[in-house]
């Protein structure tokens, strides 16, 4: 089976249903040592001493590492290198790593951790970004507490508000959300037979990990090998380094295999979270519903370390208008360090938060203007030829209006009664949420590479550095390769996400792999075909210019009897024929003062409609159904795309109604609730395929867009049901009840 748009069985599904896939926790060696990390229990302090004497006496303890044992650079970080692998002088959050114990048993390692004595001099605990940015606030990093201030300016905001006939101004807040992937971080490290320090653990980017480990240990890059095993979800939480550096440091010194498995509670404590954002939003429109001005102030809490803080600040600002054309825009977006848990990448890089704000604003404007919420969106929606807030001209594949039309068609069929005579405590409502999402990293080069080979044995091998984290990139990228080569998928061997034999594909994030690596694969195949023709010309004694590749065969323009399978060319030449591909999406750097530019080569669009039922006595919200329309460009594997959408809606339900990480209180799934099979609505996914000319076979991306419109649609539906709006996520029971009370008193 091959081909674009076909629902072939996912290539990893068989092993997964059999239970034979190997995840990080499944690797083991008979002579390995177990690692455990000693972590700070206080949020901000100078570390004046680390005493390991008692801990070393614990039976089975082999060694305890501290910052002194790091031969290279003890600073990591995906954008700013501000995070120590092991703290030497200062802890900045609860959970900061201080020492690493290696022992013969897990129990021994745990006991030793308890006995490592850390002597602190406590520093003031900076709890909020507002506090962090006050003059004379205790600086958490040398450069101060402001990680970034990004400004986006288009038109003249004062002119815009002068033109406005209605202005809505509100403040929205969101909180920390955990990725809650089910597989705890963990893996193994060892020196392999070729003298490479090898780490096997879940990750979203093996080549980034390789650079960090090499720099930490002062090793040449080729002496470090990172392998991504089957990975149990990630959602951005595995873009930062998790266990890699600990594993590598211990194996480096001990010269024997080591294993580190985080406990579930440790994952909750130490992995990054979704950034809490405070969003002050002011929008102005004319009476006919046209948006004329949008002014937004965003302040985020990046916690103790930068991680993706700058990305979230910039991306949330760029997307702040929503998928609408607005002539006058002014956005200020800031991110501050605090001593809270660090925030990082979490499915959407700030866009889910900002979409909650812009979609609430759209409904408030519609309400004030007595307009249909769909109508006001249709009036303002971006289209081909339109210009974004960063001044980017959209040239193709702007499917937002199509998603709105689909939603309108569905809405006309809905007969949801607001009241239930049998159950007078229920109120029902519907709500709409739209979004746009730039595919790939923001305004910077973010290329991918790929290679394809024909071996003399007739094998076809595809090499990609891409980490499939469960979303299905292995399958989709194989489909792209098989279509372009015109061979069956099962004929292609996939070699992926291993630094020893693949090249940098960048991270599996920003919904970028189908689009970017998909294109790199197409380039590789184009180059492979050129090489094949060269070889075939020699073999067949024909002019290269007369030959061409079609449907997997070398053919001749005049001599129709010539039809040589491309694999046969490699077989006959006795050499491996190879094609290399590189693709970097067409973007421009944003102007540092105004934020103007073309940050993404293409955008995905979506609109969700949610039907909800609110129990006004308990505050419980049930999402009954979500109609989810998505412009994904071309769906390479429609069933996988739909799987992303349904999964995204479920995560959106959690984001809207229940998920809230409370530092110091949230421990595990015991008190961090995510949707179960009984909490999720029926989802009707609808694919709107407005093909992207620069995408592989027209594809864009869907991973993050799937989640983004759900929470806004649900919150708008709650407002429709109870007649009062909630401005803070999640809309948990007490917030709903409070809103119900307010609606009664209004």
């Amino acid at each position: 089976m091959r081909g674009i748009g076909l629902n072939i069985p996912k290539v990893d599904a068989l092993d997964k249903v059999l239970g034979t896939s190997m995840y990080g926790e499944d690797f083991s060696f008979s002579n390995l040592l177990h690692l455990k990390v000693v972590r700070s229990r206080i949020p901000h302090a100078k570390v004046v001493g680390i005493e390991t004497g008692e801990a070393l006496k614990v039976t089975g303890v082999e060694r305890i590492f501290t910052a002194k044992d790091i031969p290279g650079n003890n600073r990591i970080g995906v954008i700013q290198k501000d995070q120590p692998v092991l703290v030497s002088d200062r802890v900045r959050r609860v959970g900061d790593p201080i020492a690493l114990v290696a022992a013969k048993t897990i129990e021994g390692a745990e006991e030793a951790c308890e006995k490592v004595k850390v002597i602190y001099e406590e520093l003031p605990f900076v709890k909020t970004p507002e506090e962090a940015l006050r003059p004379f606030a205790p600086p958490i990093h040398e450069k101060g507490n402001l990680l970034i201030e990004f400004n986006l300016i288009k038109g003249d905001i004062q002119v815009g508000f002068k033109e406005a006939e209605i202005i809505i101004e509100k403040t929205y807040t969101t909180t920390w959300v955990d990725h809650a992937y089910l597989e705890p971080d963990g893996g193994v490290a060892f020196w392999d037979e070729k003298g490479r320090l090898t780490v096997i653990c879940p990750t979203q980017n093996v080549h980034y990990d390789q650079r960090e480990v090499a720099s930490l240990l002062n090793l040449p890059i080729e002496k470090v090998r990172i392998i991504q095993p089957t990975t149990g979800g990630a959602f951005g939480g595995r873009l930062d380094v998790t266990v890699q550096c600990f594993l590598a440091l211990a194996a480096f010194h001990l010269k024997r295999p080591v294993r580190l498995l985080y406990t579930h509670e440790e994952v909750f404590q130490v992995i990054s979270k979704r950034h809490p954002l405070k969003i002050h939003y002011r929008s102005g429109a004319r009476k006919d519903g046209r948006l004329v001005a949008v002014e937004v102030d965003i302040l985020g809490d990046t916690g103790a370390y930068a991680s993706y803080g700058t990305t979230v600040a910039v991306r949330s600002a760029i997307h702040a208008t929503g998928p609408y054309e607005v002539p006058h825009v002014k956005i200020r977006s800031r991110m501050a360090y605090t001593n809270n848990p660090w925030s990082g990448a979490m499915r959407g890089f700030g866009v889910p938060q900002i979409a909650f704000a812009h979609e609430s604003q759209m409904d408030l404007l519609a309400q004030a203007l007595k307009m249909d919420p769909l109508e006001i969106r249709k009036i303002n929606a971006l289209q081909v030829g339109g210009e974004t807030a960063t001044g980017q001209l959209l040239r193709a594949s702007v499917g937002i209006r199509k998603t709105l039309r689909e939603i309108e068609r569905w809405r006309n069929k809905i007969s949801l009664s607001k009241f239930d005579p049998e159950r007078p405590f229920l109120r029902r409502g519907i709500g709409i949420g739209s979004m746009w999402y730039g595919i790939g990293n923001t305004g910077i080069a973010n290329p991918s590479t790929a290679q394809i080979e024909l071996s003399p044995k007739g094998e076809i091998k595809l090499y990609i550095g891409v980490a499939d984290i469960g979303q299905g990139s292995d399958t989709a990228l194989l489909q792209i390769a098989s279509e372009a080569l015109a061979v069956e998928i099962k004929e292609i061997q996939l070699i992926r996400a291993d630094t020893s034999n693949t090249t940098d594909a960048g991270s599996t994030s920003a919904s970028r792999q189908t689009y970017i690596t998909g294109n790199a694969i197409l380039k590789a195949i184009e180059n492979l075909k050129k090489e094949v023709l060269k070889e075939a010309s020699f073999l067949l004694h024909e002019e290269e210019g007369d030959l061409f590749v079609e449907e997997g065969f070398v053919k001749h323009r005049q001599k129709f009897c010539i039809a040589l399978p491309i694999q046969e060319v490699a077989r006959r030449t006795g050499r491996t024929i190879r094609g290399e591909g590189y693709f970097d999406p067409e973007t421009t750097k944003l102007d540092p003062k105004t934020g103007q530019g073309s940050p993404y080569a293409t955008y995905a669009f979506a609109t969700h409609l949610a039907e909800v039922e609110v129990d006004i006595e308990t505050g419980k919200v049930r999402v009954l159904r979500v109609i989810a329309t998505h412009d994904v460009g071309r769906a390479i594997h429609p069933k996988n795309v739909i799987g992303q959408i349904i999964g995204g809606v479920a995560m959106g339900v959690g984001f809207a109604l229940m998920e809230e990480y409370i530092p110091g209180q949230t421990i595990s799934f015991l008190n961090y609730l995510i949707p179960t099979s009984k909490d999720v609505p029926e989802v009707i996914p609808i694919l709107v395929e407005d093909q992207e000319p620069s995408g592989p076979f027209g594809a864009k991306g869907v991973g993050e867009p799937a989640l983004i419109p759900s929470a806004p649609a649900i919150l708008n539906a709650i407002a429709d049901a109870i007649g009062e709006r909630i401005y803070h996520l999640p809309a948990k029971l007490e917030r709903v009840l409070e809103a119900v009370q307010k609606s009664k008193s209004d």
Partner: protein, 156 residues
């Protein structure tokens, strides 16, 4: 030393009294298809069947299975002969990261053995102890329903 029936075969194995069934399966018996997610009985990734009923193997002390029947993912099908649920999960796109998959399959198998014609609500109930962060459950439920409908056709 404990004796029990594992995937249809009687076995005898030495195990420290404080070990959980999950640890016994994964570390002593090398059956790694049963996953360790939270380790506190909240996520269901370690679900196995004990005398046909789904249990979180992270909460069952290994000696408690003495004389009983334990089924794991390794026992329900293989490459040559997949269980109908396994086939259906592949066909319906019910598998994403796959970490919850073995546990969900065990819960579903137990349901169908006890109740061959469950309603959609009963299916949701049966897998409500198995958290899944990727799929949103719908394709899982559809995959189970398809097997139910197939069974229905066979009995008619």
């Amino acid at each position: 030393m404990i004796r029990f029936i594992l995937n249809g075969r009687e076995i005898e194995v030495e195990v420290p009294p404080h070990w959980t069934l999950l640890r016994l399966l994964r570390e002593r018996l090398e059956l790694k298809g049963t996953k360790e997610g939270c380790g506190i009985g909240e996520c269901g990734a370690c679900t196995v069947l004990l005398d046909g009923m789904p249990v979180n193997s992270c909460l069952v002390l290994a000696p408690k299975v003495e004389g009983r029947r334990v089924e794991t993912i390794e026992g329900i099908g293989n490459k040559e002969s997949l269980h109908p649920l396994q086939k259906s999960f592949i066909e319906f796109g019910a598998v994403q990261c796959g970490f919850c998959t073995p546990g969900v399959l065990m819960s579903a198998k137990s349901l169908l053995e006890r109740n061959p014609h469950p309603t959609r609500e009963e299916i949701k109930e049966a897998i409500s102890g198995n958290l899944c962060r990727c799929t949103g459950y719908q394709q899982i439920i559809e995959a189970i329903e398809a097997v139910v409908n197939h069974l229905k056709r066979e009995t008619i």
